[in-house]
Assembly symmetry: C2
Homo-oligomer: 343 residues x 2
Amino acid sequence: HRGGMQSSNSALASTIEKADTDVDLESFLNEGDLEGNFPMRAKFEKTLREAQISITKAIEEIDGEATFQEDSWQRPTGGGGKSRVLSEGKVFEKAGVNLSVVYGTMSREALRAATEKGDEIVKDMAPDEKVPFFACGLSSVMHPRNPFCPTMHFNYRYFETDGGAWWFGGGTDITPSYVNEDDMKHFHGTYKEICDKHDPNYYKEFKAWADRYFVIQHRNETRGFGGIFFDDQNEKDPEDIFAFSEECLNSVVKAYGPIIEKHKDDEFTQKQKEWQLMRRGRYVEFNLVYDRGTIFGLKTGGRIESILMSLPETARWEYDHVPEPGSPEAEFIDVCKNPRDWV
Amino acid sequence: HRGGMQSSNSALASTIEKADTDVDLESFLNEGDLEGNFPMRAKFEKTLREAQISITKAIEEIDGEATFQEDSWQRPTGGGGKSRVLSEGKVFEKAGVNLSVVYGTMSREALRAATEKGDEIVKDMAPDEKVPFFACGLSSVMHPRNPFCPTMHFNYRYFETDGGAWWFGGGTDITPSYVNEDDMKHFHGTYKEICDKHDPNYYKEFKAWADRYFVIQHRNETRGFGGIFFDDQNEKDPEDIFAFSEECLNSVVKAYGPIIEKHKDDEFTQKQKEWQLMRRGRYVEFNLVYDRGTIFGLKTGGRIESILMSLPETARWEYDHVPEPGSPEAEFIDVCKNPRDWV
């Protein structure tokens, strides 16, 4: 039941190294590390890798100049991944899409960071106890140059741990620097349509979850204008949650691409660019202080450059910057403090 | 025994607000919140405030153009502070010196972050237990423009908690972007001389402590080239530790100023500027992920802008940037991986 995948034995032989950029669907899976749902792991990995290839191709077309460079990496204690990064593009300042397929044993602290239910899951574990795990995900951040082009992030992942526990998590969310209602209607509308096909409660629930999760707590502001976010999903047939995750993932370009095409050549001032760079600074604050994926990656000995490729090329911090009342920047902050319903 | 300080009652009346920039020595102290060493609190606060005034004056003279702006802020649950920030200077991109005098009750989590012995101190506390505390400190980061001018940080603080516990902590450390042995000999030599006057073991111990503390653990690199760092100092007469802290604080300009004067007009290339901005990115990683002062500030409801004024005006992240072997940038990384003895 390994489908069309090649054996991973050769891939596991060495530590982190660069690979050439030929497209391949080589699997990082290794059967038998954990009693679990191997067919789902294989199917999810293949879906993620194919999405990584198609999404990066679409983004290259939008950019028109730069291309993604691929690095393949191995995790010495189990698994590996492929990172695709585009730098210094015409439209994109920096864009990264990272596939990671990792397994082995995980510390209490890493497990706590892995899921929203972490505190509950680890409460009966000894401080130095380790649990077998499998985790497979595709995560991405795209930072365009134009201040009217929003940053976009997505992450879709499948987890298994000891004793047959499994869950899906994921989401796609958007971080503009200015309020544009039409753009948000398109982005949120695309995901609402997908959600509604799978479960009438999904959009409401997962939109609220994104608004709750992407919060820079020390500033009492959201990072951006949300989208959908879900975690710990295991109360339906895994095939149903898989189908939902797959459709969300394969709709990233449809939800995001038209917004970039529309604004990539918008005129802007130096002040608007600086405002965007300050929003990038907030993005850095969220990712380094609160983001579960980042903290999980750092704690499981993930590949640092692949984890931190989510950070923008440039970010800015001005002391005590407060937008003028009534300005577009003040309107933006108001939405960060009072998340809106867009559809 | 309140010395020459004014009553703090009026200062405590309002929440965070801007003050005019008249130099004043108004105290944030409030007697009787905690059984403790009130005269030491008052003396330390006065020393910090006077140092804040003299250091910012010296930095303004070096800059030659920009001046520090002062904000006075109140902490609704007890105490307050004064932040002095210089922005967009000729020599300095951003420089901040923050006085904070805070007290009240502190959560278990905040106390854990407050000291290196935090884990030990909190181990018998209930999860929701709170302890009375007093903390008074002056902290500063200076980010110059020229890539051959190092960033400098210092922090000197005095803590009291319940049951008569007290300790001093502090240090001054330097973060260049390039290796310059003469500069490091001057900086470390200045602090070695002060240390040696107070205790023959101080420099060796506190230099090693800085090398251990200022580590970006996920990269296995130091943030910069160290200096001195100490925490939990309470095994001598408080007057002796006070005298040592005071001399360290009052030697910041002597240790740092000449290095800036020497390099502020050095020629540099765009590539060297970008390298400096990538080092600033590392500075952000350390401060947001590991720095005890930052985490303590965020957890005790500190004033966000005063805590995060340590962040540079601009920072840069390039994916998987590796300096050319044999280059000055590679030499720099080598020192971050293998801290050197400079004196």
